[in-house]
């Protein structure tokens, strides 16, 4: 009797969370099943949360309306380049802040951290001017360059590298290894989980960015996914919501794969262990 009584809070908790999760996922079910409806019936009530018809034409229509493959490729290309450059820069800087004692360390670190406080919009206009002077407006470079530096990632990497025991480093020193070799052969591999985490965050930030492409890009074939979808919804919103939702559904594929691949690392990463500044 007592045992069951003790379990009641736990059961309530599970039921509550299950309901909540169903609600969280319901919009996706609606998006998917509506994307398979006939365009004319997309707004027909009752709404469907389980696919009742399978009108795959909508997915073809997305490609016909729009260079959708190209758009996905653009987003992917930009995000991958950003992630690589960003990881390189963040881990180098993070290593210096975590493991080297040098003059001006605290000041430089504080200046970099203060970059976290600057909202995108505050940088938007001057970045636009800088990019236009560099001749990058309208190109993917204008989205890549400003995204390669991320104070938050430097912070995460520093926190993580601080927790790596000094003995690894010392052994390498005795072998006569230089700083760069230590960074490259010891610290980089050992920081795998934090790198996966910052990479995922950086990838998603780039993949989901809306305001920068809105301002910097204009050509169809250079567009990124969020902007492309917005334009698709403008073109098709007048009657074929299901086509728009077919595009939306396809836009979900890559983040989902990425999450499935990266979630183990995110959860394991002890990066947040001490958010000391």
């Amino acid at each position: 009797m007592n045992k069951i009584k003790n379990k009641i809070p736990q059961i309530c908790l599970i039921i509550f969370l299950l309901l909540l999760c169903i609600i969280m996922l319901a919009p996706f079910a609606w998006i998917l099943s509506t994307s398979l409806r006939l365009p004319k019936e997309s707004f027909k009530l009752p709404p469907s949360f389980l696919p009742t018809s399978f009108h795959f034409e909508n997915y073809k229509e997305v490609f016909r309306q729009f260079p959708f493959g190209q758009v996905i490729f653009n987003s992917l290309k930009i995000a991958v380049i950003v992630v690589i450059a960003n990881t390189f820069i963040s881990t180098m800087a993070g290593y210096a802040f975590a493991r080297i004692d040098f003059k001006g360390k605290n000041v430089v670190f504080l200046i970099i951290l203060s970059g976290m406080m600057i909202p995108v919009q505050a940088k938007l206009i001057p970045t636009y001017i800088v990019m236009s002077k560099m001749g990058f407006v309208g190109t993917h470079m204008s989205l890549i360059l400003p995204a390669i530096i991320s104070p938050l990632n430097i912070f995460f990497v520093r926190q993580y590298m601080k927790t790596i025991p000094a003995s690894y480093e010392d052994a390498a020193y005795i072998d006569g290894a230089g700083r760069f070799r230590i960074y490259f052969t010891i610290f980089l591999p050992m920081s795998k989980s934090v790198i996966v985490m910052t990479s995922l965050l950086t990838f998603l930030a780039s993949w989901n960015d809306f305001i920068n492409p809105l301002i910097f890009l204009s050509k169809y074939e250079r567009m990124t996914l969020p902007l492309g979808l917005k334009i698709l919804s403008g073109a098709m919103g007048t009657g074929s919501v299901s086509v728009v939702l077919a595009g939306v559904t396809m836009s979900l594929i890559i983040p989902t794969l990425l999450y499935l691949f990266g979630q183990k690392h995110i959860m394991q990463s002890v990066v947040m262990s001490g958010l000391k500044t």
């Binding site: 999760c21 210096a96 809306f210 996914l225 969020p226 939702l245 979630q263």
Partner: protein, 305 residues
């Protein structure tokens, strides 16, 4: 620099100088890109405050005109007001509910992986695409949500067409879309609290609420501090949600500073004035952050190991 006489001291100084050089080599890419894409823009937006500029014609020095204009700009006051409203609504949701949710999932003995994934999932998908879908879901007459409202005997709720209700809608959307991020930070933070604390609490006979209050909360305080800081910055730049769901409307009800900057600079082509607003926004966030850092000693516990 002080003159160092002892050899040991000399060696240490030499090592430090060498270290300093190598440290700056490591930092060089970060510092250069920081200077170009963060430092320079901030300075440039301060400089722009003194100019009238439309990107096409050469800039024109106007002195303090832009700054004066700010004090009489009703639209700007509305935008600041709206942004603060968002701050008051969204920060508690993300910083508070996110933590409660994380604690619940942390305590759940079953389906933990499913809960984690379901809550986190919306935050990894493109805001633009799901906002488009939500726009349809929340449509007054044809939307799925009002269909259920009518089914349950209610009347249509003006989700996106009432200046008060629209805040509820955006709060709901924001909860759904972004709670995963703070949830994740809290969840990891909780996982990193050593079990011994909980075991000790259990031996003392503490209930769930007491455990949460006396163990989880203080030990989580660095994470909470981090979440609050990053959250305030992100609410100050809220753009996607109002732009995609309401376009700042109805009327000016959800026009935020970010939208105002976008409109001033890139629609009205008043780059100088847009720069002025940007710079003021930066200063406000800076001040708020400094205050938070000053206040953190009172409640953030760092050393518990």
């Amino acid at each position: 620099m002080k003159t160092v006489t002892k050899t040991a001291g000399n060696y240490a100084a030499k090592k430090k100088r060498k270290d300093t050089i190598s440290a700056y080599i490591f930092l060089a890419p970060a510092l250069i890109s920081f200077g170009l894409f963060i430092g320079l823009p901030v300075i440039l937006s301060a400089v722009l405050s003194f100019f009238k500029y439309n990107l096409v014609n050469p800039p024109q020095f106007v002195g303090l005109e832009n700054i004066k204009k700010m004090f009489t700009d009703k639209g700007l006051f509305t935008a600041f007001g709206n942004t603060f409203k968002f701050l008051l609504i969204l920060c508690p949701i993300h910083c508070g509910l996110g933590m409660i949710l994380a604690f619940m999932v942390y305590r759940a003995k079953r389906f933990q992986f499913f809960f984690r994934s379901a809550i986190y999932f919306p935050s990894i998908v493109t805001t633009a695409s799901v906002a488009i879908a939500w726009g349809y879901l929340f449509s007054t007459d044809m939307g799925a949500i009002n269909y259920f409202v009518r089914l349950l005997g209610g009347t249509n709720i003006p989700w996106l067409t009432d200046r008060v209700v629209v805040y509820v809608t955006i709060a709901l959307f924001s909860f759904w879309k972004f709670i995963g991020t703070t949830f994740l930070y809290y969840f990891i933070g909780m996982q990193n609290i050593p079990d011994v604390y909980y075991e000790a609490a259990q031996i003392d006979g503490a209930g769930i609420i007491q455990t949460f209050r006396h163990i989880t909360l203080p030990l989580l305080s660095p994470t909470i501090f981090f979440v609050i800081i990053t959250n305030i910055v992100s609410v100050f730049q809220i753009f996607d949600e109002p732009y995609l769901l309401t376009n700042g409307g109805p009327g000016t009800a959800t026009r935020t500073i970010a939208l105002e900057i976008y409109q001033t600079a890139f629609q009205d082509m008043n780059i100088g004035y847009g720069g002025t607003i940007s710079f003021v926004l930066f200063l406000i966030i800076l001040v708020i952050t400094i205050i938070q850092f000053k206040g953190q000693n009172k409640w953030v516990v760092y050393d518990y190991e």
